[in-house]
Amino acid sequence: MAEFETISAEIRERAGKGAARAARRAGRVPAVIYGDNKDPVIVTVDRRDVIKQLQRGGIQTRLFDVKTDQGTHRTLIRDVHFDPVTDQPIHMDFLRVTRRTVLNVEVPVTFLNEDKCEGLTQGGMLQIVRNTVELTCPAVDIPDHLEIDLTPFNLGDSIHFSAVSNVPEGITAVIDDRDFTIATIIAPRGLLSAASEEEGETEGGEAAADEGGES
């Protein structure tokens, strides 16, 4: 059974954009708790708490006990809406979970041993195709992250889902019809060709001028 972190919330009296905006002005994030065949509850959460959790990463793979005046809800953060300009959280969805809940969840991928990877030490670049992989798993057994050891990979190699080393038993990827790509190790353009398209026209003169100006 996974550990639940605690986050405190206040019940919202009024729904709608007026009340939600008032909550945001007061430094809180409007949120809703739903699921498990119970009535939804509208709440607000302290924005600083939300940002603290967001900065830790993998917020949608961790379980939260949302404490309100009317009781505690065992939840998973299902969605976070951000302001397009300021990137501040403006709304959150909490999904109630039980031991029986099985859901699709986006789990972040972590790459290990970048310094031991031959392709990367040769100057290659890790191009990540998927930062997260969607898994079907019980809510209480969501892995924090998926690990991929980069040691055996060389320049030009593709890293597929089969290379993930820590997929727990009984957990499957949502894409199950193929061994999909998670990342590739590509050669940077400088390694591929010495002469690039911009070098001929401006690189020499402007580069010298730029560097002179900066120093």
Partner: protein
């Protein structure tokens, strides 16, 4: 410089930029991005200048993605021409950018290097910009 291969019409209305970005406001490709904070028309020349500033600073180590495309033809009348007699001829291409739009993305380099590269790129653009990182990765 970026420009459309072919267009349905040679000239376009000037238009106005209202509201905030409806899409393209999250990082989709790289780990770092440059986000517009104001509405503006960004020319193909400015996009190219910003791209060069980034690639030169990172010494072609990482990879750069350009998330905007100049598809608005901007016309100008020649100098010393009286008003009237029709719209001027298309002179350059521009892109309408709304606040929140991620204009460039970058990956494969350290955060400090990316931050400085985007600082240099932002100086080439007519909008206030913000450096953005994925949540949980040094944000």
């Amino acid at each position: 410089m970026l420009s459309p291969k072919r267009t349905k019409f040679r000239k376009a209305h000037k238009g106005r930029i209202h509201g905030v970005a409806k899409g393209g406001y999250t990082l989709n490709f790289g780990s770092y991005g440059l986000k517009a904070q104001e509405p503006a028309r960004i020319t193909a020349r400015q996009i190219e200048a910003a791209r060069r500033a980034v690639t030169r600073h990172i010494r072609r180590a990482g990879r750069v993605w350009i998330r905007i495309f100049p598809d608005v033809p901007v016309s100008q009348k020649p100098a010393e021409v009286r008003q009237g007699k029709g719209k001027g001829s298309p002179e350059y291409w521009a892109c309408r950018v709304k606040p929140g739009r991620i204009m460039f993305e970058l990956d494969g380099v350290d955060q400090d290097l990316a931050e400085r590269a985007f600082e240099l790129a932002a100086a080439k653009l007519p909008v206030k910009c913000k450096f953005v990182v994925r949540w949980g990765e040094g944000s």
